[in-house]
């Protein structure tokens, strides 16, 4: 834990552990009712964790991506939906911190996020774009000091619960579909009309309903950098790293249960190696692989952040895409191993070894930004990018 050895990191983790304790007691209820993990998010506010990434001079903790990843993993072991809400909020905050620092309005807004513990949601998906968030159909219209936007947002996770929404659109009505901007709209600056209901296999508590978004706000709330830059330089890495940290947390919790199951069996019959013991060893190796991939990606991101060219290089995009593919696929194998180890007690709900929720939640990982789409993008890049085959490169 050398990266997280600082006093700030220790208190951040302690604060998140208190949130996780609350989140764990409500995780089944959140899942069953597909409701917002309100108790967990209230606890995040109580512990002032919604602003942890905001720079210290603006009232936050200035937490690093490594520290925020650890927080996602802690919460992911308690309630996947609450952890994913926290991760998605932090991904939005990263856009502000990475691209809004030089701008008065956005600096002021960051201070408000930390001071008032505002929850930020994202509206990047749109009906008709085929899931590619780097394209928009809707366009923001700037009229003097005011901007207006209407968007058929097929997914806005916890949209009705958010205090502000960061929303993408074309930069102006004549702009190409890939010429996009991102704008902050505060809760009193928009209306949401529900168009799709989030009734899903897993990750039920993220409440990722679809809405028709209509907003009007001062034009200075448009982020000063093109969305293409935001997406490539901070959102891609933050998304894949923080999501993976949540997924690792889900798999790690399943592993802890499976290991406890085998240890209990071993204590009952010390002369025999329990039948699941070998699978625990296999799952341990897989879990270590996921952990190593995440840590390596964080190190790569930290190194690249100081250099804009490295951040926009293909090698960086390929590495982040590879993290997402590897972690989203491997957690399913891990949880499946754990289910084989714990058997019917894992398959049944309401036992100390139940893994149904873990398995259902984990299945979202391959789909939130479809792995097929990501592999498609990576395969295009690999037509020209030559993979670095060294160990430390």
């Amino acid at each position: 834990m050398t990266v997280l050895g600082s006093a700030t990191a220790m208190t951040l983790c302690e604060r998140m552990r208190r949130v996780a304790a609350i989140a764990a007691t409500h995780a089944d209820a959140v899942d069953t009712a597909a409701r917002f993990p309100r108790e967990a998010v209230d606890a995040m506010r109580q512990e002032r964790l919604l602003g942890c990434q905001i720079p210290v001079e603006l009232g936050g903790d200035g937490a690093s991506v490594a520290e925020i990843s650890e927080l996602c993993t802690i919460l992911g072991q308690a309630c996947s939906a609450a952890a994913m809400v926290f991760a998605m909020h932090q991904i939005k905050v990263s856009s502000l911190v990475s691209h809004g620092e030089g701008d008065d309005w956005h600096r002021g807004f960051m201070a408000r996020v930390a001071g008032e513990q505002l929850l930020l949601a994202s509206a990047t998906t749109e009906g008709g774009i085929g899931g590619n968030l780097r394209n928009s159909i809707c366009a923001i219209e700037v009229d003097g000091d005011t901007c207006r936007l209407q968007k058929d947002a097929t997914v806005i996770s916890y949209g009705t619960e958010a205090d502000a929404i960061l929303i993408t659109s074309r930069a102006h009505p004549a702009a190409a579909s890939s010429d996009q901007v991102m704008t902050v709209f505060l809760k009193d600056q928009y209306t949401l009309e529900r168009t799709h209901v989030w009734d899903t296999l897993g990750m039920r508590g993220t409440c990722s309903d679809g809405f028709l978004f209509k907003g009007e706000a001062p034009a200075k709330q448009i982020l000063p950098r093109p969305f293409a830059e935001i997406a490539a330089q901070s959102m891609l890495a933050h998304s894949h790293i923080l999501w993976s940290a949540v997924w690792y947390g889900i798999a790690a919790d399943a592993f802890v249960k499976a290991q406890a199951f085998v240890r209990a069996a071993a204590r009952r019959s010390p002369d025999q190696v329990p039948p699941g013991a070998l699978r625990v060893a296999e799952a341990s190796a897989l879990l270590q692989g996921v952990k190593a991939s995440i840590v390596a990606a964080i190190e790569k991101y930290d190194a690249a952040r100081l250099d804009e060219d490295k951040l926009s290089a293909m090698s960086f995009a390929v590495a982040m895409n590879n993290l997402k593919i590897a972690s989203s696929q491997t957690i399913l194998s891990i949880i499946n191993h754990c289910m084989l180890i714990c058997g019917i007690l894992a398959y049944k709900n309401g036992t100390p070894f139940s893994l149904g929720r873990h398995l259902r939640d984990a299945h979202s990982a391959q789909l939130m930004i479809s792995n097929d789409r990501i592999l498609g993008n990576t395969s295009t890049m690999l037509l020209v990018h030559k993979q670095d085959t060294s160990l430390y490169g």
């Binding site: 780097r134 702009a175 293409a228 490539a232 926009s312 295009t380």
Partner: protein, 85 residues
């Protein structure tokens, strides 16, 4: 033929831009003109084939392909025998 003319031709056939390449200045932002990341890779492949070059890893970024002028300079760097304009 000068590099920049070839680059314009290759963008016209592989860039999949929603606008006519002839209307774009040498320093116009190709991404703002609608160049997608997929099309930029096809563009790279076509340029590699035409000039018999290979873009090194350090050039595989957004900046290299941001304008007709930037692409031409990159090609000129890799194919010193060719004339830029």
């Amino acid at each position: 033929m000068p590099i920049i003319e070839d680059v314009r031709k290759i963008i016209a056939s592989h860039g999949k831009l929603p606008v006519d390449v002839a209307t774009l200045a040498d320093d116009a932002d190709l991404y703002a003109a609608g160049l997608s990341s997929f099309a930029s890779v096809q563009l790279m492949l076509a340029l590699e084939e035409r000039f018999d070059i290979e873009f090194p890893e350090t050039m595989l970024n957004r900046k290299t392909f941001s304008s007709i002028g930037a692409i031409s300079s990159a090609v000129a760097e890799l194919a010193p025998g060719e004339q830029v304009a």
